[in-house]
Symmetry: C2
Subunit: 132 residues, 2 copies
DNA sequence: TAACACCATGTAATAATATAACATTTGTAA
DNA sequence: TTACAAATGTTATATTATTACATGGTGTTA
């Protein structure tokens, strides 16, 4: 059973904003959008983001410095993330492919190092942009 | 045959520094280190870094905002990069595993999107840090 | 050689992203 | 009901990256 995380006030405000968004949100864009709700400082945003990432409710898209809500209801894969990124329209989707995640989770390299976490970002053109 | 890129003065200075380093270097740390060589401004560093990334001589470690020299003599895999990162000592190595790169290069997801590029970062503890 | 394209350089200013430090408050569990 | 962990609030500052504009070198070609 998944541990239930009761989000705090700021965490909830920020998660809801990210969850409603159809694109990755950047920290200062989030800040701008929640100022009417009483969140005034960058640090308040970053603290909530850190926590949300930690518990797997959101993921950071490292190549874009932006955040999206986890698309896996269970949110159990925050240590094994994969995304597809369209280099034209910047649409980002979380990839949920069990073969891929199994392959990567079990990956062991020559040094014998076993990994506890990975992040994979694929780049290309999405359907829409390809047909333009 | 690989295209030969003749590095410009600034590009060479900055590549040499990164290449000699045993750890990923950050842009402003690079700037600090090359000021004696007449490179004074962040933009000079970023321009060289951009070019070096583009031609595959170095790679950016996205999760660390840092740069390392490509470990593959051919430097042909700048569109297919994988790294191992020790979360304790921050040692970063480029993974050169043909099975992995084949698997990922041929990866096609449900949407039929074919990717032209990927970047993968594995996290864990390196041998040394594990045995501490 | 003049005109041009192309790439690289130099410099100043500023934008965008992220953290440090410190004080206070809230939730929760012993 | 104390005591601890987590979250909040606020100011300042550190770090990372880009915009804008001017200059310089090199090769092509008309």
């Amino acid at each position: 059973m998944e541990k239930q995380h009761n989000l705090s006030k700021n965490q909830k405000i920020i998660f809801d904003l990210i969850d409603k968004s159809h694109e990755p949100l950047k920290a200062y864009s989030i800040l701008f959008n929640v100022q009417k709700k009483g969140i005034n400082a960058p640090l308040q945003v970053y603290r909530a983001l850190d926590k949300l990432v930690e518990i797997g409710k959101i993921h950071k898209i490292e190549s874009r410095n932006a955040f999206i809500a986890c698309q896996n209801s269970s949110c159990q894969i925050s240590k094994a993330t994969a995304f597809s990124i369209c280099e034209s329209c910047e649409k980002v989707s979380e990839i949920n492919n069990s073969k891929l995640s199994k392959y990567l989770s079990n990956f062991v390299d020559e040094t014998g190092m076993k990994y506890s976490k990975y992040n994979l970002e694929f780049f290309g053109l999405c359907k829409k942009c390809k047909s333009k």
